[in-house]
């Protein structure tokens, strides 16, 4: 299974709809300081079920909705959709039911001050279902395959009991 593309709209500094295709193995993202690169990483963590606003550098869930700029008004809705290509040997039992034409679309949408809803292939599901889907694939918003900016050295400086998570995820 792998991610084939991601669509964001109203998420942090991405006020307009933006699509990022992962057509190749090594996809580079460059750009000046403050242009929005790390916001893309946070969009992926968020759609996978990340609920701690602190780990998205905010202090409340509304902080991820586009808050306006000197030329554009703020928005009230933010949404991110992850498009996954899948083959049957990849997936565990809890997610087998989603293998229709080999694709899974996971969408998360938030309305300011109301809360967020999740959909898988267009059908509304609970947050747990999405978190479960990614946990089976030993990935997800806190997994060790996402290295946040500035945290590359952390794995080494953690205590041995914290480091064992690496083992548990891979097992």
């Amino acid at each position: 299974m792998f991610i084939s593309k991601i669509k964001l709209s109203g998420f942090k500094s991405f006020s307009d709809e933006t699509v990022l295709n992962f057509d190749y193995s090594l996809n580079g993202i460059i750009g000046p300081n403050g242009s929005g690169k790390s916001n893309i990483v946070e969009a992926i963590k968020w759609v996978m079920g990340e609920n701690s606003s602190k780990s998205l550098r905010g202090s409340g869930m509304n902080d991820i909705i586009f808050s306006g700029s000197t030329t554009k008004a703020s928005k009230n809705i933010a949404s991110v959709t992850l498009f996954l290509k899948i083959d049957s040997k990849d997936i565990s039992s809890s997610s087998k039911k989603y293998i229709n034409s080999g694709n899974i679309e996971v969408e998360r949408q938030i309305i300011r001050d109301t809360g967020s809803t999740y959909r898988i292939n267009g059908k509304e599901v609970r947050a747990k279902d999405v978190q479960f889907l990614f946990a089976d694939l030993s990935s997800g918003s806190r997994a060790t395959n996402i290295i946040d900016q500035g945290s590359i050295g952390n794995l080494i400086t953690q205590k041995p009991s914290e480091r064992r998570r690496i083992l548990d995820e891979a097992a």
Binding site: D16, G31, S35, S139, N145, D148, G153, E169, A171
Partner: protein
């Protein structure tokens, strides 16, 4: 469950040692389960020594050495797993040019043996050169992020701000 953890530990340990030697061009490194007899409770310790140096407390490693050792560990767990994507946000920032090249060739080799996808955010021109495709994120309209597809040859002109 205990057996599964022990098997995973053995496979990660041998991959970690091998990747460490590749990234550091020598030296030695291995993992140990400590603090408990039960593999389900034990902590994971790393013992590393860069080439020419004695086995040291891991806290004495330099900023670049810690980053490189972390990458060896991350890649050793990644190869065994099913993850849909690996995201690396400016992991090359503490590395000197020599080690950036080593990190990038490890990236390239890994994509040859798996069909994993990588998302690599960087300011380093060497790393940009290794990518199959480069996206640029700009804020031409202040405060609004837009995505543009970047042609590597043009990097100097279009992304002068880089």
């Amino acid at each position: 469950a205990r057996n599964r953890v022990l098997n995973t530990f053995a496979s990660i340990n041998s991959t970690f040692s091998e990747l460490f030697k590749k990234l550091f061009d020598g030296g030695k490194a291995y993992l140990e389960l400590i603090e408990s007899e039960d593999p389900l409770e034990a902590g994971l310790e790393l013992l590393v020594s860069p080439p020419g140096k004695k086995l040291q407390r891991i806290s004495l490693l330099s900023g670049g050495e810690k980053a490189l050792a972390s990458l060896a560990l991350i890649f050793s767990t990644f190869i065994n797993r099913q993850t849909p994507i690996c995201i690396l946000d400016e992991v090359d920032a503490p590395l000197d040019d020599f080690n950036v090249e080593r990190f990038c060739s490890l990236l390239k080799e890994t994509t040859k043996i798996t069909n994993k996808k990588f998302l690599v955010i960087t300011h380093n021109k060497i790393t940009m050169g290794y990518m199959n495709k480069v996206y640029g994120v700009t804020m031409n309209e202040p405060g609004i992020s837009k995505l543009v597809s970047v042609n590597l040859d043009k990097i100097d002109s279009e992304f002068a701000a880089e």
